[in-house]
Assembly symmetry: C2
Homo-oligomer: 474 residues x 2
Amino acid sequence: MTFRRIAARAACSLALPLALSAAPAWGQRTAPPPAPPVDPKVAALRDAALKDDLAYAIIEGLTTEVGQRLAGTEAEARGRAWGAAKLKALGFSNVAIETYQMPVWVRGEETAEIVAPVPHRLHLAALGNSGSTGPKGLTAEVAVFPTYNDLAAAPDGSLTGKIAYVGNAMQRTQDGSGYGANGAARFVGPALAARKGAAAIVIRSIGTDHHRLPHTGTTNFAEGQAPIPAAALSVPDAELIERLATRGQPIRLRLLLTPQQTGMHESGNVIAEVPGTDPDAGIVLIGGHLDSWDLGTGAIDDASGLAITTAAAKRILDSGMRPRRTIRVVWFGAEEVGGPGGRDYARRHGGERHALAAESDFGADRVWRFETALPDSAAAVGARLGSALAPLGIVRGNGVAGDGADIAPIIRTGVAGVDLNQSGLDYFDVHHTADDVLDRVEPEALRQNVAAWTAMLAIVANAPEAIGPVVRPK
Amino acid sequence: MTFRRIAARAACSLALPLALSAAPAWGQRTAPPPAPPVDPKVAALRDAALKDDLAYAIIEGLTTEVGQRLAGTEAEARGRAWGAAKLKALGFSNVAIETYQMPVWVRGEETAEIVAPVPHRLHLAALGNSGSTGPKGLTAEVAVFPTYNDLAAAPDGSLTGKIAYVGNAMQRTQDGSGYGANGAARFVGPALAARKGAAAIVIRSIGTDHHRLPHTGTTNFAEGQAPIPAAALSVPDAELIERLATRGQPIRLRLLLTPQQTGMHESGNVIAEVPGTDPDAGIVLIGGHLDSWDLGTGAIDDASGLAITTAAAKRILDSGMRPRRTIRVVWFGAEEVGGPGGRDYARRHGGERHALAAESDFGADRVWRFETALPDSAAAVGARLGSALAPLGIVRGNGVAGDGADIAPIIRTGVAGVDLNQSGLDYFDVHHTADDVLDRVEPEALRQNVAAWTAMLAIVANAPEAIGPVVRPK
């Protein structure tokens, strides 16, 4: 995932579960309304999914037989071909690849070393859209800012000729909120440093691990602004700079980064369906993203999302019960680099009736919570989800569903949503690093995800209620 | 550490604790002999050491202000200067640097990629003494051997022109025995592959982690044998090769490794003392090694050993009780690359009376066990150690002390020993990788080490018993 929208929590016109919109549990004096029973067919599908092997096989295959899948490259194209073949082989209908053009940035050489007061080689990775130092590199004094806010407080022009260093205080959070809170150093820190005159910027990785593996990710420069070289240091390397800074001597850094913008190239989405019986009931759109960062093989970000949603849809396909609503699985392209895949999907398919959209793009750890964004007409759907998901250890939150960069353009048109939130406690140990490989996927947690998605699809795709548009609070 | 000798366990002339040489505990029918009381001064020193900050400060300083310390390089020389200044500042006596010449191998470029059946970039590190591919690299088919024994079974000449891949089944063990059992792939696998005609060899790192960080370490070619390019893949990269191998298509690897032998250079040991009152009672020799591998900053291997032993000796120095025996702290050079520091020490100082030698070179995790190698005359010393170390959670083993590559040449002359064994369960997650940095040191565990070493020194250096030579079982 690139950025996780933290849902607003204001009261709204959505159907919120009664128990949660009332007093907190410890003040509760009345019994909650009885939970609806779970349809035995839903329960059976859910429990069978706890033995799923397809999701792991998809991740294993994609990461082994294709590898990294940087958006807009031939590797991502091989991923599309692999995905379309796999979806056809699994028996999905209407499998198609839909392409679009997008600008492509590619990594070059990247090395860095502290040259004073003490030589140290550093581990770092250029950020997407980083400028280049040129092949001879750049040596300059480092201006150390513990956080993004400290950088923001630096006077304009005060960084002229310097390399800005920006730290952060990222902590583990189950809901992933640490990313939004600390990510500014990466998302907009380079643009800000450039505006203040910096020759380059290195940030402490937006990550919670302590390994010598930097976390890459996209940064954004302003329209017309010349990109400066911008990279993330591994957390231990960042801490080394901070320790050296406490000793008071100037720190000089030599930086070599030679990434390039390579112009416009083809990317695309892979689409497949489990056809429904009632075209008027609307499509249930699910999926994740096929592209990955180039450092790892994108096992958790986001082969897992493709695998979980595809394996769940395949279980509905194989159940013998043709669903009321068409389930459309999309393997989106180019999520990591600005989301042209999601925009292309909305452009092509925004005119079709979508009942609900849900995306899996937060790794492969266990689902611990679900959120909904449902119209009043479908409030009972939320209650049935609660009953069916509870045995998997999943509780209902009090936020508003709609997470996922790829479905965001469709969600914005008022499409209902369900989020199945995976634990983010360990996600940012690995996110956007070379460690995002098959080893990071825990098969039992992955199966719990497939079971949750299978139950959700069985309920949502077959709900007799109308799942019409919703208005989300701002 | 380079290689941990697994002590023989045969019955012998050494003083073994009675309870352990008798029946196993669950068959015990008689009360064990009463443990001797702990000298209150020893207990007070031990408990005060649980608040130690010096050991951490030494590790922090050495890894920050010096960094990596590859043997025989200017970085190791800066480490010696740093160490001598630190030991003088701490008030140790007779601080000296003793130098010697040694051959020095240095890392060059190192990249690798699978070019067929699917492109994948790999993370790898050359092994010490690896040959070079030359600047143009080498591309060849991979012959996959799951273990060293499989490689050993390959017919001579069967690997001509190929790159051998050798896996392993390294598991976590508290006593570190997994290293000896699986290390052959690194220690002698390259020499064996070369003899069978291989153009190069890559091994699965001898490590227990699953990060994209390879584990380097020395390999040894035979006298007169031309070294082939030899490198360790990170564990996930090794597993990728094994997964691709199951798919049956030939795997082709492109390898670029340009290390060099740079001839003879200066290395050295740093020596310091807490002078004793009785020169005839013999020296207590303690220490660790100053040099490190070049990928990390040698925080656990072995700044921790220097720090633990130095901090413990400093506590004796500051205790106001001048010890009976001189405590000699040595920061050995060049342990990682064959141990010329230990040999130089033995050559210079082998004629001096050594009562006992003990080395700390297994990281910074908690001490869980101690071993002794004591003459009958000093059996009571072992019992007193048992009483004093028990409150730190340390039990007595039934092996024979003498671990440590640097003290091995002195130990071989019949010097008594005590081993304070640290847990090896996590050690090989980090050993010889870029992750061997300050972050890996857990301050509370480090303090427990200092407390154990302080108690051990207080007992051993002041023991009224003669601690004469011992004969170790073969």
